[in-house]
């Protein structure tokens, strides 16, 4: 997948949230600027939201990483 414009290799079947954790990329920030990341890992807490293929506020933990997928972090 492509994260913030950089092509990266991730393990098969891994979620976007897990891939970002492995890459040490912060998915998003609170309005105060505080770093946020996956808490529940099962689609409830909404703390791992990233932009996936142009769609903002997708929950990274609920989407599997795919070849060619474009992910952007820190977009709200």
């Amino acid at each position: 997948m492509i994260v913030n414009g950089v092509s990266v290799d991730v393990a098969d079947g891994v979620s976007v949230a897990a891939a970002l954790m492995q890459l040490k990329i912060i998915p998003r920030r609170a309005l105060s600027g505080e770093a946020r990341g996956p808490l529940c890992g099962m689609g409830v807490c909404f703390e791992c939201r990233v932009t996936i293929d142009g769609q903002p506020h997708e929950r990274g933990c609920m989407v599997r990483a795919r070849e060619g997928m474009e992910v952007r972090s820190d977009e709200g």
Partner: protein
């Protein structure tokens, strides 16, 4: 000072009550606010927080304009959590007929000291590129603004003694709480919005339910507070329910989406058919909304009067108890003008606004 008395007791800590508290505190008087729930928690929290000049009538124009000026004078003092932003109101004309209908508005506003601009199709596209192509134009009031009203109510009420309680009865200069306690004051102000009729059943104030939705954060998606020019038709419709396109960008990047109006519904539950109509209407004007995520839906009750003006005056037949209700969808704006009218009435001063326009006696049912 005894605990059960004050110079001024305000019933209701919504934006109107909070504004009154501030105005009387600045006169050097002691103020107690009686609130049954949270400061700024009723219609104040349910609304959009739009500070807007409206031209439904001369009296409405004068009150909204004066109130907007008063908000502007507070800007240097407002703390960041009030999220004041001068977004401007962009009234959108969907077709040539709507645009034609507002062609005279610019002169009307400017003659009364409010900057305004008529936009043709092209300048509307430039001003607000997210609107559906093909809109005929718009009417821009650039100095209107947006605030976060619950925090504004908390800020305005600083310095007042806040008492938690439900008022069961208001008399002339006194009131009784549900727990039996009696409070007395030189001046009592009833600022309980749509619930004023519980205390004064003769008031021609009716609850008018509204729905709102808020999205996730989409910074930059919308620049102005956007309202369809058909809004006034919705606001004035005699029918029991109507919707109008009304979208506001928040400082957080979120979008507030409204609006709906319903008479005769007392249940505050979110109604799916109203949400559907309201969101469909919004997407007609702003197609990009269809791809956005709504985070939360809620409702609130405006205090509507038959002539769309608030009731701000002595309670008929009394000498120390005042009414401050009936602000319908404009309470955030007109709270400050309301407080000014009441302070001037109590202190016996002339003011900018013509007090009789907002007096309860204009309604037959209020005369004693």
């Amino acid at each position: 000072m005894k605990a059960n008395t004050a110079d001024v007791i305000v019933v209701g800590a919504g934006i109107v009550g909070a504004a009154c508290a501030r105005a009387f505190l600045r006169e050097g008087l002691s103020v107690t606010i009686v609130e049954r729930d949270l400061v700024g928690g009723g219609a104040t929290a349910a609304g959009m927080g739009h500070v807007v000049v409206m031209d439904d009538s001369e009296a409405q124009f004068a009150l909204t304009k004066r109130s907007r000026d008063l908000w502007d004078s507070l800007v240097p003092e407002l703390p960041p959590e009030i999220e004041f932003e001068r977004r401007g109101t962009l009234w959108v004309a969907a077709d040539g007929e709507e645009l034609e209908a507002v062609s005279g508005k610019k002169a009307h506003y400017e003659a009364r000291g409010v900057r305004a601009e008529l936009l043709d199709e092209l300048s509307l596209r430039t001003a607000e590129p997210s609107l559906r192509p093909g809109m005929a134009g718009g009417f821009l009031v650039p100095d209107d603004s947006v605030i976060y009203a619950p925090c504004a109510a908390a800020w305005l009420s600083r310095g007042a003694n806040i008492v938690r309680g439900t008022v069961e009865q208001i008399e002339d200069g006194a009131l009784r709480l549900r727990n039996g306690e009696r409070l007395e004051a030189g001046v009592v102000i009833c600022a309980t919005g749509a619930w004023a009729v519980d205390l004064f059943p003769a008031l021609p104030v009716k609850p008018r339910k509204g729905h709102l939705a808020i999205t996730e954060r989409y910074p930059g998606a919308v620049r102005h507070q956007l309202i369809e020019l058909g809004y006034l038709k919705s606001a004035h419709s005699a029918g029991t329910e109507s919707v109008a396109f009304n979208v506001q960008p928040r400082a957080t990047g979120q979008l507030l989406i409204g609006s709906s109006r319903q008479f005769g519904v007392e249940d505050g539950a979110v109604e799916e058919h109203m949400i559907r109509r309201m969101l469909d209407r919004a997407v007609e004007y702003l197609p990009s909304l269809a791809g956005m995520k709504v985070l939360r839906l809620w409702t609130g009750f405006r205090a509507a009067t038959p002539d769309h003006l608030p009731i701000v005056s002595l309670c008929p037949g009394m000498r120390r108890t005042y009414l401050a209700t009936g602000h319908e969808g404009l309470g955030i704006t007109t709270s400050l003008g309301t407080a000014e009218i009441l302070v001037e009435s109590v202190m016996g001063r002339a003011g900018v606004l013509t007090k009789q326009n907002y007096a309860a006696e204009r309604f037959v049912e209020c005369r004693v």
